[in-house]
Symmetry: C2
Subunit: 136 residues, 2 copies
């Protein structure tokens, strides 16, 4: 009993979610993902979508961001690339991953200055991407 965590079972639903997510490059809510899967003929329950997204997020296989409406939105990420933040278009949802170095240094120095420990930043930059800006 060295490896406490057993890997999840391979189910049709779990791989459907994983492949849909890895095929998109913008953040989507659980509901949107559920709709998309349904519209492609996939038979899957909403509960399953929520559960699976959560477990994928905990496993670090996808990113979660809480948007301005307080909803959790998910997106696939290049794993193993370390911590990073996002630059998200508030019109089309297009998202870019941004290296965390600068911010992490800043967070650490701010935390040290105020004697906070265990500091983690929740950071997302919302803006308007080139395409949407010119499509006015």
């Amino acid at each position: 009993m060295t490896e406490g965590a057993v890997q999840p079972r391979r189910t049709r639903q779990r791989s459907a979610i994983a492949s849909l997510i890895s095929a998109t490059d913008s953040f989507q809510s659980a509901q949107e993902i559920h709709h998309l899967l349904r519209s492609t003929g996939e038979v899957i329950g909403l509960s399953t979508v929520y559960r699976t997204l959560q477990s994928l997020a905990e496993a670090g296989e996808i990113d979660v961001v809480i948007n301005a409406d307080g909803e959790s939105v998910y997106r696939g990420c290049g794993q193993g690339r370390g911590l990073h933040y996002h630059l998200v278009c508030r019109i089309c949802g297009h998202a870019v991953e941004v290296a965390a170095d600068t911010i992490d240094r800043w967070v650490r120095s701010i935390a040290r200055e105020h004697r906070f420990s265990d500091a983690v930043a929740s950071l997302t930059v919302f803006g308007i991407c080139r395409a949407c800006a010119s499509a006015t």
Copy 2:
């Protein structure tokens, strides 16, 4: 008709909320604020609390942060001090305002690099404050 915005009426409820908020230095949810006011004998409806907090936030008189559960939490801020972010203790809720200069510069450069316009950062740093860390 130069000044489109009329100032809100002075009501008992609005000042109760404003004074409670300015007397606290940690973020609180609308529900918590409602409870507190009720427990001090104030007669006030939940709807009013939500509405007033929103209008105060839009007016820039208080800060809003969406916490990890997707709830909106509010706190008074020193107005006129310009944009700033928060360092929040995830145990006791104690919050410190942090100047935004460094981050703003970073946000602008990231946005420029990826050709995003109108970029605004949503940033909150969660950690554990000195007091809570030593009260283990």
